[in-house]
Symmetry: none
């Protein structure tokens, strides 16, 4: 039996609900997709709950599930995944915290919890002064996030996420961080000393002097909350005995894949994840990656963007481009490849955000079971042989189609 290679194509947020602008159809139902349909017609189709029925998955939790990791075990607090989302290199064992830039006085009374809603490029300038501080052998990395937000990532031995928040919520005095258990006391001390060092480095920072001169509140401290530890997980490559990489443009997806032990395959900026991403070029990269790797996860972000924009016509245009991309893959399909086409979640245009609906999925390889599904769409795939599965089943089904599973029993 030949061991086949595996390509999982995640069309981010592609699943949808009825769109008024599209005569009550979903973008996938509305647009003719001969190439996507070819994979359904020659393969096995079904529906997939990225996490479980009715659960609104994030892209992060859904990609964990699609890679076979139970997000309820692995997704430990928002901190590490916020860090991944802003492109930080998170490693198992790291503790990450979400932070606000805030304005405090010398007595650590909070004057403005958001430092006048400061944002980049000023936050970027301030972060430069803080990134890389080392306290008692613990490395402290900082990166700005959206608006007044930032992420603090701690790396070193003896860390724990068992600590309280510095953010007082409704209160006005900055809280000292404490260990929730003995285990957290060392980390709490590090975070408190980090905050002190923040204040020392930021209070007279040129950016803040400029803000004061302009009558704006200075961002003179970082206030952390929501500590989470990135779990020790068995890397994907070890777990499944395959070399693996991802072809993705979005930082968060690359971060999730990297944290699970996948390589990040280099791709040109032109296919980097926007609405105008060059999808055929991206497909070419994925096929190229398959000559080197056993397993490739490819993410196409464009449909999610159109869904968040609540723009059904734009999403329908994206569907056309995705179908052209699948035409390219179909024309250049290597032998001995298992292809799975699915979404990480629905992003209905009527909602402008993720929903918990199941998403269409199609598996194709030479010699797989052909079923009665003919169309890659929410309703079309529901007629297929695969029935309704979960995101965490996808890798196992691909492994089996790729002749890469051990028999359980005899």
């Amino acid at each position: 039996m030949t061991e086949k290679k595996i390509l999982i194509i995640v069309m981010d947020g592609l699943g949808d609900r009825a769109c008024e602008e599209l005569r009550g159809l979903t973008p996938l139902q509305y647009i003719r997709t001969p190439n996507l349909d070819w994979f359904v017609d020659h393969g096995s189709a079904g529906l997939c709950d990225p996490i479980a029925p009715g659960i609104r998955a994030g892209s992060d939790t859904a990609h964990l599930a699609i890679l076979g990791y139970d997000p309820y075990r692995v997704y430990t607090g928002r901190g590490p995944f916020e860090a991944i989302g802003v492109g930080m290199d998170v490693q198992p064992g790291d503790v990450a915290l979400r932070c606000n830039f805030a304005t405090v006085d010398d007595d650590l009374e909070i004057l403005d919890r958001r430092a006048g809603r400061i944002r980049a490029p000023e936050t970027t300038e301030l972060v430069e002064a803080l990134d890389g501080i080392e306290i008692d052998g613990i490395e402290c990395y900082v990166k700005e996030s959206t608006e007044h937000r930032a992420v603090l990532l701690l790396r070193g031995d003896g860390l724990s996420a068992e600590i309280t928040d510095a953010d007082p919520g409704a209160g006005t005095h900055l809280m000292l961080v404490e260990g929730k258990s003995e285990e957290g006391e060392f980390t709490a001390d590090i975070v408190n000393r980090f905050m002190e060092e923040c204040y020392n480095r930021l209070k007279n920072h040129p950016t803040n002097r400029k803000r004061l001169a302009a009558g704006l509140p200075p961002a003179n401290i970082l206030v952390p909350r929501g500590a989470g530890e990135f779990p020790m997980i068995k890397p994907f490559t070890e777990r499944y005995g395959m070399s693996a990489c991802c072809v993705a443009g979005v930082g968060m997806i690359k971060g999730i894949c990297k944290a699970c032990g996948l390589d990040i395959y280099p791709i040109p900026p032109a296919c980097n994840g926007g609405l105008d991403s060059d999808l055929e070029m991206k497909a070419a990269c994925a096929l190229e990656a398959l000559s080197e790797y056993d397993f490739v996860l490819m993410n196409c972000k464009a449909p999610d963007i159109a869904g968040h924009d609540m723009d059904a016509r734009s999403k329908a245009e994206v569907v056309k481009k995705l179908d052209a991309m699948m035409g390219y893959i179909r024309s250049n399909l290597p032998d001995d490849l298992v292809v799975a086409i699915t979404c990480d979640h629905c992003t209905p245009c009527s909602l402008g955000d993720h929903s918990g609906d199941p998403v269409p999925i199609a598996f194709y390889t030479q010699g797989c079971v052909r079923d009665e599904a003919r169309e890659f769409s929410e309703s079309g795939c529901s007629r297929g042989f695969i029935g309704r599965i979960r995101g965490m089943d996808i890798v196992q089904i691909c492994l089996d189609m790729a002749n890469r599973t051990e028999k359980f029993g005899s």
Copy 2:
């Protein structure tokens, strides 16, 4: 409500993938099956993962699941199931080990790990000299397996599978077996003394004298490894409050059923499990068994054999015979019977071994829900009301259709 009786028909390895010789169809899609289809048309159909999506089930683990036992809990090491496979009468609490006949010198140096690939009938002769030895109240049963292999089954109080292997793997000196924990020390001592007794009984055994005279290495010891304890499980009959038997020709299936507390219904040799098994006679036995028992599991091995032979045309012929068998059952269908028709796993002809694909399943009883599925095939059943279930769900669904379940709550 009348309590109905239950018949589960396991068509071993019947599910398949696209077969080139059958115009890209599966044997079930290729052959017209009016009788199987009658059960689908008048019943509720679906797909079943014998264990879980993408998991390649063995016949042993799948039958455990179909009987409602979680194979991840019950399938404890290969030894007991190898014993069941060769037709030994395994009981809860027994410890079984897989063995090789080997050639050792007087210093227990291993000269040939497979004793010159000795096989039956010589292994049968040697086993006769070893079967039934008793050491410290522990009964030691031995039975030959394929080629140079055999199984050692220990029965008695105080046994444990917590012992090391005697087989040195790459090494050349026979290892003394040791307890992996205190619990295993007694069993380790029994196994060591059994090996010593083996050597004493085999070194001058007439079969070995003949082998020496012919220049062949004597099989003068049994080298055990892979100890496993058959778990204490609640017998099927107690668990479900039904009398139960199996109608099967294959030793392994009978062994699994017996170990789960089912009776073995006697059947004539003509319906004993080969490609040419008389399936209508077997069906008659199953219906006859239903006059005595509440629950009957019937196994038909022929499709699995054709699948392992990679012979799609032969498997298609088996499908015809299975359909004729279902015609017999349909014509002689007792009132108040629940019938479930399914497979323990797929054995795709293109693979020649089990795959992890889901298998078709149909439930029929008078008054059950009729759905839009019309054909008993992988794709046909996927259109049904049942959706995608797991092997461990089957008995519970049957019980419910048979009016044999307790309400949970009020």
